[in-house]
Amino acid sequence: MPIGMKGHLKNYAWVLLFMLFTIGSYLLGFRPGMVIYSNFTEFFIEMILFIPFLFILIGLFDVWVPKEMIERHIGKESGIKGIFLVILLAMLQAGPLYGAFPVAYLLHKKGASARNIFIYLGAFSTLKLPMLGIEMGYLGWKFTLIRTLVSLPLFIIIGYLLEWIMGEQFDVKDPSRPSKGDAA
């Protein structure tokens, strides 16, 4: 549903405020404001480099991959093979952790189990291949190898624990669909 001009204005209030703050900082020569803006552009470039691609892939994944297939391979009854598959899927991704949330929503919608979704988030945050490459370059293969080998069992355990903690309450929502509790 379209939320109208007023809703958009409300959603982007902070962004607008930040733009005004930046323009003001540059006009008045306010250094902190300029530093914050240069930080922002760095992060923004990182985001804009991969986010559009990510959402194209998510959209395509949504229309092409049938629910039954996800349910069968990484659903409740999927076992070790399911864990292996979600880790592999996560390793092929790129970008910061918040980029994994929309993917988690989609996996949930298609019937992936809570355990596998949390394992996906764990693998996404610690085992992405492009990241491992950079890590090896800066911190050495020994550091990377040990960190990877220690992280792997831990986030699998966390996946099981979170599934157990959440039980039937587990749900992933799409924040782009405003619900009644969604005021911000």
């Binding site: 992060f43 559009p52 395509l60 918040y98 911190l139």
Partner: protein, 161 residues
Amino acid sequence: MMLSNALIFGVVTGLSLLVSLIFDRKKTFLGLKKGWKMLFGILHPFLNILILISIALFFVPESVIITYLGEGSGLVGFAVAAAIGSITLIPGFISYPLAAALLKQGATYAVVAVFMTTLMMVGIITLPLEIRYFGKKAALWRNGLNLLAAIIIGIIIGWLL
């Protein structure tokens, strides 16, 4: 490095799009529409988080991080590393060079490891966004358990290296 990652990701996306178009144009456009809708819906929380991180990084610049986590920082350094790593979210292309600089400044492997792992696995700044997807309970538990895991990883790496 980041550019080549983005390039690879872009090429993969482009090829997928092409294959999808060849097989079914209608389905492809439906997918693009769905992707766009999700992106547009999440764009303003994304931007808000970027603004927050930019401000946080202004108050805690790299030089301060190095002072507190460098040589001889001991247990306090370990705790500070876990705290900074948990709160902020620094992209890899900044955090890895920073970690390497820390090691050169005499920080221990344990401190660097707990800093890197909390950066990756725990995100207090991104918590509001995470709550929108998973709800309060799951988001808080996930971050709590990951903090614990990050500390364990830090201790083991510090012990082995």
